[in-house]
Amino acid sequence: MSDILKFDIQLHRHDFLLNVKAEILEGITGIYGPSGHGKTSMLNAIAGLIKPDSGFISISGDVVFDSKQRINAPVQKRKIGYVFQDIRLFPHLTVVQNLKYGIKRNGASKIDFEELVGILEIKHLLHKKPGECSGGEKQRISIGRALLSGARILLMDEPFSAVDVQLRNTIIPFLNELNHHYKIPMLVVSHDLPDLLSLTDRLLLLKNGAITALGRFQDLIQDEKNIEVMRDAGLYNVFNLCVFASLPEKNMVLLRSQTNDFQVQVLTQSFHQKIEVKKQIKVLIRPEDISISLNPIDQISLRNQIQGTILKIFSKDGLSFCLVDTGEKVLVEITEASKRNMNLEVGTTVYCLFKSAALKMFE
Amino acid sequence: MKYLIYLILILFFFPSCQSSKTKKHDEVSVFCAASLVDVVSEISSNFESETKSTVKLNMASSGTLARQIENGAQADIFISANKRWLDYLAQKGKVDEETAKRIAGNEMVLVAPLNSKLEAFQFSTDIDLLNLFEGRLSIGDPAHVPAGTYAMQIIENLHCREELKSRFLPAKDVRSALMVVELGEVDAGIVYKTDALKSDKIKILTEFPDSLHQTVDYYIALIKGNEKERSLQLYNYLVSENALPVWEKYGFKR
C-alpha cells in the first residue's frame, strides 16, 4: 500500500509542544487522544491553516511543507478535504451551491454529483439554505462538499461530537460507504474511542502532543502503555467477523472470524438489516463485560463461552487486564483479587464468558 | 468632582454677570462691506483707543448684510458698497434716512495672478476681453455682491456678457474673488482697485473707466431701533476729516 500522507512536524502550542511523525496509508485511520492534546492542531497543520515551526509534510508524494527547503504550499493548493467540527457551511449559499463550491470551473469533479447526493441522502435539501437543515444533515453536506472539491484525503475533526447524542452513530454507515465506494483515505480525529473503533481498526494515539502508538487496535491493546492512554475513553474489543449461519430454532445468528476459529452467537433481534451469510460485521465488547472461568460452565444462561490461552496479564489499581488468545486476541478486565484467587498466569487455559446482549454490532 | 463642576458653571456665567446695560452702551456694532475691512478696522481701532469703547465689526457682502439686518441682526451702523442695498433697507424702514450719505468711492480693475504672462496695458474701448485670457473670470456673485454687480455692468457695456456667462466664477464676497486670483486658479478677475493694491500676489492689468459702470459709491447710515450716543459718535468719526487720511491711505476716493 502506498502512503497517502507522510509527515514529521513540530509546532509550539500554548501549553505543549506538538511533535508528531507518521505515515498514513489508504483506508480510514483514526486519531485518538484526549481533548486539547493537539489533534485539531495536527489537522490544521496538515491542511496548511497553521504553519509548523519545523518539519515536513507530503501528500501522495507531493511535498507541501518542508521547513528546510522553505516550501510551504498554500491551503488552496493542497487538495485536502477538511470536514470541520463546527461544519462551516456557507450561510449565504444554498446547499447545492455549498456542495459545488470546491468544483473548479473548468474541471469536472472526479466524483459523480448525483451519485454522492444519493449516498449521503441529501437530495431533498439541495435548494435549501444551511440554516434550514438539521445538524446531521449539515454534517453530511459538509462531507459531500469536501469530497466534491477533489480532495486526495479527507480530514475529519470530531465528526461524532457535532451531532446530538441519539444521532451520532448515524454518520458511521455513511462514512463506511464513502470509504468503500470512493476509496478515499480518511483521517478521523475523535476523543470518542468506541465511535472511532466502529469505523476503523487503524489508530494513531496522541497524548500531550506526541504520537504514542500507531497501528491496528488489536495490536495496540497488547501494550499496557496504550491501554493507559485509551482507558479514559472506555476500552473496547474489536472483532472483524462475518455471518456464518443463522440458527432460527435458537433465535441466534452465528458470527465467525474469517481467519481463525473465533466465533460468537448473537440474538437475531440485534440485527437491524437483513441477515446474509458472508456479510461482514464489526463486533465490539467491553473488557469489563467479559468474565473468566477456568472451566466451561453448563448450567448458566451465558451463550458465549470461548476457550483461549492467557498471553499477557498486567495489573493496575486493583484491576487486572488479561489478553487471551482465542484465535482473536481478547482483552478481559477482572479484579486483581479474582486473578489471584484463580491463580491466573501466562499460559493458563481459560474460558471467556459473556452475554450476547453485551455485544455491539456494526454492519 | 462635584466642586469642579460648580466651578466650571460659575466661570461660564460670570461674564454675563457684568452689568449688561453699561456694556451695551459702550459697544458699537458695524456691518460693513467686505472690501472695507482694513480701512474700517483701522479707523475703528483709533476710535476705540480715543473713546475707550468697543467696536464690533461684521464683514460680508453688502447684500448678505442687508439680509441679516432685515432679519433682525443687531447692527448700529451699516456701510454698503452700493446704494441699492441701502435703499433696500430704507424701504423696509430699517434705516435712519437722515443719516444716509455717501462716504467713499472706488474704482474697478482687471487683475491677474502675479506670475501671469499677461502684461499691464492702457485701457481702450476696443479691448477684447473674451480672448484676452483663457478659463474663468473671478467676480463677486452679482446677486448679492456689489463688486459683482459693477463687474456685470462693465461686461454688459463691453458687449460680451453672453459669451462670458459660462466662464464666471462667482464668489461670496469680493475678498474671496480676490483670493481665487491670488491662488492662480483663474487667469483673471474683476475686483476693486483698493483690494488689488493691497495684494502682492496679483498684478493690475488695467483700470476700467467709470463710464462703463455705475460709480462705485459706498453709503453709510445709522440703523433704526437701538439709537445710542456711541453709534452717532462713531458715525461722525468715520465721515470726519480726521478719518480722511486713513481712507486715502487704502486708496479710497472721498
Binding site: 485536502i80 | 448678505t64 481665487v180
Partner: protein, 234 residues
Amino acid sequence: MGLTELFTYSSAELDAIQLSLKVALLCTIIILPIAVLIGWFLARKQFFGKSIIEGVLHLPLVLPPVTVGYILLITLGRNGWLGSFFYSHWGIQIAFSFPAAVIAAIVVSFPLVTRSIRLSVELVDKNYEDAARTLGASSLRVFFTVTLPLALPGVISGAILAFARSLGEFGATISFAGNITGETQTLPLAIFSSMQVPGQETSTMRLVIVSVILSLLAMIGAEYLNRRILKNKA
C-alpha cells in the same frame, strides 16, 4: 408665498437638484470599490504604521469641511504641489469644476464608508474563509464569494452614508469647487446663495423642500435595503 410659486422651479434650481444627484451618485460609485479594498485591508492585515494611516484616513471626518476644501485647494489647485503637475503636463485644471465637486464629496465621505465596511469585514467569521480555502479557493475568490457577501450589510450602509453625506456636503464643495451655477452649484450651495440675497425666500423654501425630500428618500431606501439583506441572510 403662493402655493404654485412653491412648486415652480427655475432652471437654475433644477440644475442644482440635478447636479446634487449626479455628484452624490458618482461619489458613491467611485468610493465603493476603493473603500471596500481599503476597509478589507485594514480589517485583515497588520502592518507597520497602520495607526498613522488610520489617523490620516479619519481626518476628513473630524476636520471642518471648509478646512478640507482649503487643503484640497492648495494640493490640487493649479499652483498646488499635486495640481500643478496635472496642469503643466496635461493642462488639466481640477479646482472649480464639476470633478472638483465630486472629489470634495469623495474626500469627506471616505472615512465614513471605510469605517462601516471595515467593521463589517471584521465581523465576518474567519472560519468561513478558512473553509473556503480548504476547498481550493484562491484569496481573491474567497474575498468575492465569502467575505464580501457576508459583509454586504456594512457595504450597503456605507454606500448610503456616502450618498447622504455628499447630498449635504457644503464647506469643502464651496471652497474647492466654487459656486458655479450649472456646474458646481449643488443643492446646499444653491440654498446658501439664495439665503444671501434679500427677497429670495420663496426660492430658498423651494430648494429646502427638495433637500428634505431627497434626504428622506435616501434614508427610506436605506432602511428598505437593509431589511432585504437581513431577510436574505436568515
